[in-house]
Symmetry: C2
Subunit: 142 residues, 2 copies
């Protein structure tokens, strides 16, 4: 049974990405996160371990990992100001966000059939889509 550190190292190697301490730690945070995280969040976690790390390094790596399809970028705030990132485990999905406490529930994609129909109706080649659902969770409704 492989150690997490080695698994993540291999993820990097397999994508021709050099292994650096910063990279490993960033990826680990994303891998272990239960919900999408912002660059600032990664920064605030990491600077305890790596006091010299900069936000620019975080951004460069998040973007790199997204380009390599290891992470996905998602916009979850209603106002779309800050991006979050999540480890991409191969499944296309969406999010239901509580507008009060920001809790996030992943959603299976309900548009598979719809996309096909849309493609026929509009004659567009459909590439991708994004869905975000906003609500209030049972906890916050109380």
């Amino acid at each position: 049974m492989e150690k997490l550190e080695d698994i993540l190292k291999n993820v990097l190697k397999g994508n021709d990405i050099r292994i650096t301490r910063q990279r490993e730690e960033i990826l680990k945070i994303l891998y272990e996160a239960e919900r999408p995280v912002t660059a600032k969040k990664v920064y605030s976690i990491l600077r305890k371990k790596l006091p010299y790390i900069r936000l620019s390094t975080i951004y460069r790596n998040l973007n790199l990992l997204e380009e390599k399809d290891i992470l996905r970028k998602v916009e979850l705030n209603m106002d779309n100001r800050e991006s979050s990132f999540e480890f991409f485990r191969g499944e296309h999905h969406h999010h239901l966000v509580c507008i009060s406490c920001q809790e996030i529930i992943p959603l299976e994609c309900p548009l598979a059939e719809y996309e096909k129909r849309l493609q026929k109706e509009t004659n567009y080649t459909i590439i991708d889509h994004k869905i975000k659902v906003y609500g209030i969770c049972p906890e916050c409704r109380k």
Copy 2:
């Protein structure tokens, strides 16, 4: 038959918004636009007529009109950097955007049933949702 100027004036009055030249012109641009427009776009159109207008005025008014439910704010770029606004004619809808030429097709909402189901399954109170579909239009595919 009422003139457009008067219709828009009444829209403003009906929402307890003072009538100013800048306001009227901004609203008119939005009303007549065939697709969502950015603040910068409004600015570049308007400064021909009102050379002294500032982007801050545009933003203040777009935001005000959105709060009053006269406009809707939409994020159409894949990278979500710039917001667009469109005149809200009462129908909840979404957009299919060509990632090459940015042409936009409005889409009827396919999630009405889904929202109800989701509400039951998750016990969240569903408030709203956003869908964006990205594709390549027939013209650009050639």
